[in-house]
Subunit: 138 residues, 4 copies
């Protein structure tokens, strides 16, 4: 399957819990790192993007993950950003992760571009980010 | 609101990202810690529970979180386990977190009790755990 | 023993590794959090201190830790900042941690106040921070 | 310089703190991962090594790190295990990390092989591990 960006993780001893499997918050660290790799490749990274859009940050609105199998030390996980659903003031990123051809998890992140407006944090229109990210596909 | 268990977290500098707000995977670390506090208080902790139920672990099937506001260094977050929906071979835990009377996030964890059966990891019936957790309410 | 600041940590399941004991990088997270509690209590926090001193950050130069015993899920660790050695352009913070009256670790952090000077990051004199921190002892 | 094992890390947004630089406990996560890569390559991994040596774990006795420069999101760090000093009941591992040809940190980990003996955790002789690790050099 085609992916907008891929991110491989070698699971280490310290990523695992006393049951010997990946401590699940680490999956979110790796999913977030996959998103930031997209920003690096297509928008110059988070800091530059915030300067360009006069934004405070590209923050989370909602996140979820469905787990299919436990993963242990020494296994390599391949994360893929498989698609983006563009809303008006949010974008939803869809991820899949696999190891040895088997699905580890499916997840999503709904994010907004947050700007200060009248002293309040507000979700701005995401169109400028959409243009940047889609530019490199053509 | 009544909670089955509460867990307070003082947000530190190192919990925050370059945008100055909590790096979101940390919220899952704290939600997981709230669940393990429940196991400590009502089932003798994860290790003893696994021995009692002949289980490998109480693992995740699905997890989600909805974010309402960013939190910064120096703020105290109060996490609450507000309810448990008992299925046959899974339980879904519902959480809320607030700071200064405002909701920070709402989240859920769907968990199973995993046992080895015929060489395969299988979700066992959760009734024994339900009995332990509800015993202390009466 | 008198401490400049104390910080209690309840060790959770997810803080531990497949050997069932605290994954050691977490001790550094907690030692760092103890330092930032000092800044909160005596200098208004890291962000305000940086504004007051026109600094980029209070960063690390050297760190070390000596481990005396393993700690498991469910134990409470008490961290104490026991002393500060003030240099001219650095300060060295000394820490101790214990559980149930037994020493868990002894550690130190050597930190500098980093400022931009002529386009380069330089360690500034720490005297202004010393004055702030010692003011509340008198 | 020759290294016993190397480990590359792409620094992500979430590895950094509000000052925009790597939150230092993460360096210890990566140093520990470098050690566990050595165990993977030369001793079959931590779990198998513990079975082979009838040990509880290869735990830390002492650790230290000297920082030379801050690192930011988007930079790649190359960690190297540069040498091992073998004691009788401990081994000391020496590490270096660099980015773009400049040293980021130098660090060490003093570790022991911990076994249960008469109901107490004791550091065993490290000779069997030394043999395994040096076997693949010849």
């Amino acid at each position: 399957m085609m992916a907008l960006v891929e991110h491989a993780v070698d699971v280490s001893f310290g990523d695992c819990d006393p049951a010997g499997i990946v401590f699940y918050p680490n999956y979110f660290r790796w999913m977030d790192a996959t998103f930031h790799r997209l920003l690096q490749e297509r928008a110059g990274g988070h800091a530059r993007l915030c300067r360009d859009l006069d934004a405070v940050g590209i923050g989370l609105m909602d996140v979820g993950m469905n787990f299919r199998m436990p993963v242990r030390e020494g296994q390599r996980i391949q994360l893929r950003l498989t698609g983006i659903d563009w809303g008006s003031r949010s974008l939803t990123l869809r991820y899949e992760a696999e190891t040895d051809g088997r699905t580890v998890f499916e997840g999503h992140e709904k994010r907004g571009i947050f700007v200060m407006q009248g002293g309040r944090l507000t979700a701005a229109e995401v169109e400028p980010l959409k243009v940047m990210i889609q530019a490199k596909d053509s």
